[in-house]
């Protein structure tokens, strides 16, 4: 297999509503990533787009519409889409382009413009459900989080305050992220006293809808070595989908995330993730999801993540920094574009470019993960410093 390196990352600010169109956001993120890599669009052999539902942008086949903003016009261009899993799946798709020999430089772009939906991005989420079994009940997406969170809390006897701690940590971490939408210094009580949305989910447990785009430049080792001495390699990838029948499984543990993680660990030859991973960016659209996903990624035992969080292990200066970017909870949640705070963040952390967000002790191996569909998709990417 040809080795693949990351040469640059880019992202727009994340906000509830940006003036820029999807194309324009894609362009800004792409430009930034190319600049960091020291490359121009003409050096790019192929482009991968990651974007979630067309219903957000309000354009059918939106990948086709976005392609010139993402630098894809006249090039081999593909769009992948695995729900919320897209954020980390898109760079995996970029990996194939180079590892297969089909490209030497691949531009990976992720875009989401959620603000176009009227009256609310939630209206688009109404169409993710099974039309016969679920939609007649007029569900809200928050319901499935609430149902999953309740199951997780009940099975392990977890207190709400131990979950709220994640929201406090991530929103505080986000104070150091220049793109952040909801960075804040909060207390656990602030979270516990925030508006009840769908019990047990409260307003401050949730990441916001956002507009934004992000981009990464991937290149073959050969190309990368000509441009930099500080190489960051893609080292392991995994992706896994569970059955559509989400009401037929126990929601307390994300087996599909574990499936994707095992695939990635095998590829990266990681036998003991708890010891070998230095920094992690699990998907945190809700505070409990960070904990759920730490367990799914086998970074701790089932039910142990809230304890590690309480003990400070997951703080930026802890033993296992988790979501040092500020995550979706603090920086924002433009679905696919959260690639910027998952995959790009791990790259910046390993390359020592995270500045104020930099985790100490010279991290060598990092992992990021995204989650999506009807609580059924896991995508996992491991990077390693050269």
């Amino acid at each position: 297999m040809r080795k693949v390196c990351v040469l640059g990352g880019g992202m727009t600010i994340f906000r509830r509503r940006l003036q820029e169109t999807g194309k324009e956001m894609s362009y800004e993120a792409t430009k930034m990533a190319l600049e960091e890599a020291g490359l121009e669009l003409k050096d790019v052999d192929s482009v991968v787009m990651g974007s979630a539902p067309d219903a957000f942008d309000g354009i059918h086949m939106k990948g086709e519409n976005l392609l010139d903003g993402a630098g894809g016009a006249g090039k081999p261009y593909l769009r992948v889409f695995v729900g919320g899993g897209t954020a980390v799946f898109t760079p995996i798709a970029g990996w194939w382009h180079i590892a297969s020999g089909m490209a030497d430089v691949c531009l990976v772009v992720a875009e989401e413009k959620m603000s176009s939906v009227f009256p609310h991005p939630q209206s688009a989420f109404g169409h993710i459900w099974d039309p016969i079994l679920d939609r007649p009940l007029k569900p809200n997406l928050v319901w499935i989080f609430a149902m999953e969170m309740n199951r997780y809390m009940t099975v392990h006897g977890i207190k709400k305050e131990d979950i709220a701690r994640v929201a406090v940590k991530n929103k505080r971490n986000a104070l150091d992220h220049p793109c952040a939408q909801l960075a804040a210094n909060l207390t656990i009580d602030d979270v516990l006293n925030s508006e009840m949305m769908a019990w047990p989910v409260q307003r401050l447990d949730i990441s916001p809808p956002s507009d934004g785009a992000s981009a990464m430049i991937l290149a073959s080792e050969e190309v990368a070595k000509k441009l930099t001495d500080d190489l960051v390699y893609l080292d392991g990838a995994g992706w896994c989908i569970d059955s559509t029948m989400w009401t037929d499984r126990d929601l307390y543990f994300p087996e599909y995330v574990a499936g994707a993680a095992k695939m990635a660990y095998k590829m990266a030859k990681i036998e003991n993730p708890r010891k070998e991973i230095d920094v992690a960016e699990p998907y945190d659209p809700f505070d409990y999801k960070e904990l759920h996903h730490m367990e799914g990624l086998l970074l701790c035992d089932k039910g142990e993540a809230p304890i590690l969080t309480r003990e400070g292990v997951t703080e930026r200066d802890g033993d296992l920094p988790v979501c040092p970017s500020g995550g979706l909870l603090g920086v924002g949640n433009p679905i696919a574009a959260t690639m910027g705070i998952k995959a790009c963040e791990i790259y910046w952390q390993l390359a020592g470019k995270a500045g104020k967000r930099q985790v100490p002790n010279d991290p060598q191996v990092g992992i990021c993960q995204a989650w999506g569909d009807l609580m059924q998709y896991g995508s996992v990417l491991i990077m390693r410093r050269g």
Binding site: G126, P139, R151, V201, G355
Partner: protein, 172 residues
């Protein structure tokens, strides 16, 4: 140096949108579907009209699959047999929602959750509403029973069950 440096983007407020400070382009897409329900779900909906829940059995793994499907996703083989199951079950998880489908606030919250149905294989169930219970009473593991619409109001839909209520003592 903190990456990303100088990120771009111009934030708009909802006030700017509402007051017409920015031009807004609106489109109301005409997108209408009539999904073929298929063999398994057609029968499932027919039986809902009769006030019954029906499942499919996989001969290979012996699971009773609910909601019913014509193939078993574990064995990747066609399922073989129709099996009536009960209209009672157990709450696997639930939420009490103060949001409607468009994220608008509602004062009378919706009790919603997943019910695993008695007679189907373990954990197999559907999402539905709960009623005749309170925030204090409802719990994971609570036995429940379907409350059906009167036969003349049923139309072959998941909503032919109005909701699930707590199972009373001695009731089946």
């Amino acid at each position: 140096m903190t990456k990303p440096e100088n990120p771009k983007g111009v934030e708009l407020s909802s006030k700017q949108m509402k007051e017409g400070d920015v031009i807004v382009n609106k489109w109301d897409p005409r997108v209408k579907y009539a999904w073929a329900t298929g063999e398994a779900i057609s029968r499932f909906l027919e039986e809902m009209k009769n006030g019954k829940l029906i499942a499919r059995k996989c001969d290979s793994c012996k699971r009773i699959l609910f909601p019913p499907r014509m193939f078993c996703e574990e064995c990747f083989k066609p399922t073989t047999e129709w099996v009536y199951i009960k209209d009672t079950g157990k709450i696997e998880t639930y939420s009490i929602s103060y949001l409607d489908k468009d994220a608008r606030r509602i004062t009378d919250p919706i009790f919603v959750g997943v019910v695993s149905i008695d007679g189907a294989s373990e954990k197999m169930g559907i999402m539905h509403y709960f009623d005749e219970t309170t925030k204090e009473e409802i719990s994971i593991g609570m036995p429940v029973k379907a409350v059906w619409k009167p036969p003349e109001e049923r139309e072959g839909a998941i909503t032919d069950i109005k909701y699930f209520r707590p199972l009373k003592e001695g009731e089946e």
